[in-house]
């Protein structure tokens, strides 16, 4: 289940529309998006601020549902799923990385990384071993017990990557992961993404910076809720 079968694409979005309703006002953030991502692909989604990138990521990450259209994740239609099943899908299929890191400040690095496994019901010892392994994978094997406040921005984002990786998801969704980082840390994180891609991970990277998008083999350009260009 980790990387999907060869026949099934990881992401298959057909005619995806998302309308936000704010009181009497309604705003269509996605206006009919078709997107297909195969296992092992490294895709960058680029577009100006407000173009609908985050909305797209939330839909793909099962954090939000489409107003119209179909979304199949590793071949399964997620439109049919209820809250509990969606939680399970997020837990097992998707690894999120956010611009603001979103680490819990009261927990140590290793405890943060353990969280997805805790919700999967994996026992303490195994959980910790996997979390340590993931932190070593991102080069933070010596920072296990540090709290987020004791880590640099780049290190915090690497902890977030470890947390995204630890559950062995079908894909990694990273929304502007370098948005809050200086150039050195940005290079670190992009290097990590390259390594993960080389290791066969499916990655969807959202950014508004062209030089960041250039690292990916495929660049999807979004504008006003529509896919403008899909260049391989």
């Amino acid at each position: 289940m980790s990387t999907g079968t060869l026949a099934e694409p990881v992401i298959e979005l057909i005619g995806g529309r998302k309308t936000y309703q704010t009181g009497a006002l309604s705003f269509e953030a996605l206006r009919g998006v078709d997107l297909r991502v195969e296992a092992g692909e490294y895709v960058a989604v680029i577009g100006p601020s407000g173009s609908g990138k985050s909305t797209l990521m939330h839909v793909l990450g099962c954090l939000d549902v489409l107003t119209q259209g179909t979304y199949r994740l590793t071949g399964h239609d997620v439109g049919e799923l209820d809250e509990v099943d969606l939680a399970m899908v997020r837990n097992t299929q998707i690894g999120f990385v956010f611009q603001q890191f979103h680490l819990l400040t009261s927990l140590s690095a290793v405890q943060n990384v353990e969280l997805p496994l805790a919700y999967r019901g994996i026992g303490r010892a195994e959980r910790r071993a996997l979390a340590v392994e993931a932190l070593e994978r991102v080069g933070l094997g010596d920072r296990l017990e540090n709290r987020p406040g004791q880590l640099s921005g780049g290190q915090q984002q690497r902890v977030a990557f470890a947390r995204a990786l630890v559950g062995d998801p079908a894909m990694i969704l990273a929304d502007e992961p370098t948005g809050n980082l200086d150039s050195t840390s940005t290079e670190e994180v992009l290097g990590l993404l390259d390594e993960l891609h080389a290791a066969g991970r499916t990655i969807l990277l959202i950014t508004h910076e062209a030089d960041v998008a250039a690292r990916a083999a495929r660049v999807v350009r979004v504008l006003d809720g529509l896919i403008q260009e899909d260049a391989r």
């Binding site: 990450g61 939000d64 399970m88 997020r90 009261s106 969280l115 919700y119 019901g121 559950g167």
Partner: protein, 410 residues
């Protein structure tokens, strides 16, 4: 997540806001302490009253003039105080008429001023007979108690309680000294051993003279045959109710009353007295406990309030946990657990406070407080339940948050 992990997560969340958490549980804490104190005070007072009543003697029946039944409004003119006589008490002592009665002691009391030299002391003067010491389970410390000889000769002999003796003579070595009451001199023949004063009724502040002397020299006039109380001692614990029936039947007969409802006297057992006395305290305890329960309710609302604040503050955390795959149930459990821990902490700290107060207070207010384990365990359980119940609404709200709105907040 296992329950143990949910507990640890909740505990950690509470520890990050120690002051706030303590303030939150203050209402519950005070409520629980108050419940333990009021229940303890109720029990303690009941215990005190029972002890006081049993200190009257053992296997005791107490016959008093007048009736407690409402239908007995008759004989108003005579006054209830004259309906019990020396002759009545003598008849009760008959082993033929009342075989289950072991001993009888009639007494007539009056508040009198006693003088010895310069010392002056007002006490309860008791006129009674030799059997009183046996019936009331009292012994003498010095000298002797009154005798039948004192009674028949209307002797001017007196027996003092330890406190009365000390007040008059500065010592309990008072045998042979003289006490003056209403101009008559009495010779001290004995001093009672201390019965240990219970809080309200000081059993050591008393003076006892022969009943005949009391009735003729102190009371006098038309009231000279009436006694105020007759103590009847049954032969054993098992025969108390038989003795009570015999005494009642005898008195009805002597007073010429056919309907027991019209009785002009009351025969009560110690048990009945204890029940009457404790009934009052039970009502009081229920009332006070009700007030304490209100405090618990207020405490519960405090917990709900702070949990709602906590849900709002941690919207992002909730969103993140959901993004990582926490199902709504896990979020609900986490907040329910936190609210329960708050309730439990309030309960335990409140119980501890109540127990400390129950240990310190009796010395200050002079009545016993009995901490009952049932009340302690029960109130901690109630505190836990309050946290749980008032945590439901915040927990449901947390679980319902859409992950996306939660992540976007701030």
């Amino acid at each position: 997540m296992t329950w143990a992990e949910t507990f640890l997560t909740g505990w950690q969340a509470i520890r990050t806001h120690v002051t706030r958490s303590l303030l939150t549980v203050l209402g519950i804490l005070i409520g629980i302490a108050a419940v333990i104190l009021t229940v303890g005070l109720g029990l303690g007072t009941q215990q005190d009253v029972s002890a006081q009543i049993s200190s009257l003697g053992s296997n005791l029946l107490i016959v008093t003039p007048g009736s407690t039944t409402s239908s007995a409004g008759m004989r108003g003119g005579f006054g209830s105080a004259t309906t019990l006589t020396v002759a009545d008490s003598q008849a009760m002592a008959s082993p033929v008429v009342a075989p289950d009665v072991d001993a009888v002691a009639a007494q007539r009391t009056s508040s009198q001023s006693l003088t010895a030299g310069d010392a002056n002391w007002t006490t309860t003067l008791v006129g009674t007979t030799e059997s009183w010491a046996d019936v009331r389970s009292r012994t003498v410390l010095q000298g002797r108690f009154l005798t039948d000889e004192d009674e028949t000769s209307q002797a001017t002999n007196i027996v003092l309680g330890t406190e009365t003796a000390t007040e008059l003579f500065g010592t309990t070595f008072a045998v042979g000294r003289t006490v003056t009451i209403s101009g008559t001199e009495y010779t001290v023949v004995g001093v009672l051993a201390s019965a240990g004063s219970s809080t309200e009724d000081n059993l050591d502040d008393t003076a006892i003279i022969p009943l005949s002397t009391m009735l003729n020299s102190i009371v006098g006039g038309t009231g000279r045959t009436a006694v105020s109380t007759v103590y009847v001692k049954a032969t054993s614990t098992d025969t108390i109710s038989a003795a009570q029936q015999q005494v009642t039947a005898l008195l009805l007969n002597l007073h010429g009353i056919t309907n027991a409802d019209d009785a002009d006297f009351t025969v009560s057992s110690q048990d009945a007295l204890v029940d009457t006395a404790t009934g009052v305290y039970q009502t009081l305890t229920v009332l006070l406990t009700g007030i304490a329960a209100l405090s618990l309710l207020v405490g519960g609302i405090g917990v709900m309030n702070i949990m709602l604040v906590s849900v709002t503050e941690r919207t992002r955390e909730i969103g993140l946990r959901k993004a990582l795959g926490a199902p709504p149930g896990a979020i609900r459990r986490q907040f329910l657990m936190e609210a329960s821990i708050l309730g439990l902490v309030g309960g335990i700290v409140g119980a501890a406070l109540g127990i400390v107060a129950a240990t310190v207070l009796p010395g200050l207010i002079g009545s016993s407080i009995v901490v009952s384990p049932v009340a302690v365990v029960g109130s901690i359980a109630v505190a836990l339940a309050i946290g749980l119940v008032f945590g439901v609404y915040p927990a449901v709200r947390a679980a319902r948050l859409a992950p996306i709105d939660a992540l976007r907040s701030q």
